[in-house]
């Protein structure tokens, strides 16, 4: 279990390879990468605030739960905070398992919990102002399936 909360950028591909190498015996690796999306072409930057201390606890707890529910050989979560430019990587998760169904389920579970239960808040800054990203109803609904 490898969990990192950091301001620094990370390289998705490098982390995917390092993760795969760290999970011998896995037949299936699923990885997810979240990217700062500039929907309207107006975004100057995103800022991510978090709750130091609680963030690490929440991510550890979510990863531990995933490890209890599915037969995983390894789990990785990296989540950044601070200012991010459009196109930058925000976060990633990766799961390794013997079988693909478990790796997929665990990765989706991690993402669903992380979205609504880990203390991060996104703010979008454009040329004309700034606004906190609102939590989507569908993200709360997504939790109900687990």
């Amino acid at each position: 279990m490898d969990i990192r909360v950091q301001a620094e950028p990370f390289d998705y591909g490098t982390e995917c390879n390092a993760f795969t190498a760290s999970a011998p015996g896995a037949g299936a690796v699923v990885s997810f990468c979240g990217i700062v999306r500039d929907a309207g072409g107006q975004l100057a930057r995103m800022e991510i605030e978090h709750y130091p201390g609680m963030t690490e606890r929440a991510l550890n707890d979510i990863a531990t739960q995933a490890g209890e529910r599915w037969d995983l050989t390894e789990v990785l979560i990296i989540h950044r905070h601070g200012p991010l430019a459009p196109g930058e990587t925000i976060m990633m998760v990766a799961t390794a398992s013997r079988h693909r169904a478990e790796a997929f389920a665990a990765a989706e579970f991690l993402m669903d919990y992380l979205k609504s239960r880990a203390p991060f808040w996104k703010k979008e800054i454009t040329a004309t102002g700034e606004a906190w990203v609102e939590a989507a109803e569908r993200d709360e609904t997504a939790l109900k399936r687990w």
């Binding site: 979240g34 605030e49 978090h50 709750y51 201390g53 609680m54 606890r57 989540h79 925000i90 976060m91 993402m111 992380l114 979205k115 609504s116 239960r117 880990a118 203390p119 991060f120 808040w121 996104k122 703010k123 906190w132 990203v133 609102e134 939590a135 709360e140």
Partner: protein, 83 residues
């Protein structure tokens, strides 16, 4: 008792401070919120719609009915938007 209160995202911005220390006899989160609301307009505004506010007690998600016995750190924030 003395508790540390933390605010994040727009709650922090409305209240104007990321943290404060408070002497309180409040027995529950709700009672604490009532006490905070009475501190002034910024607080009243920040806590005007509790449906939009989440609370963590000693870094664990909780709710407004929860007792404050032994709690040292209370955090208020909007619904989380990680990932």
């Amino acid at each position: 008792m003395t508790i540390t209160i933390l605010y994040f995202a727009w709650l922090r911005e409305r209240i104007g401070e990321p943290r404060e220390t408070l002497q309180t006899e409040a027995r529950s989160v709700s009672a604490l919120v009532d006490e905070l609301r009475a501190k002034g307009e910024r607080y009243a505004l920040a806590f005007s719609d509790l449906a939009a506010v989440r609370v963590a007690l000693d870094q664990e998600l909780s709710d407004f009915d929860a007792p404050l016995d032994g709690v040292r750190e209370v955090a208020f924030f909007p619904p989380m938007t990680g990932g």
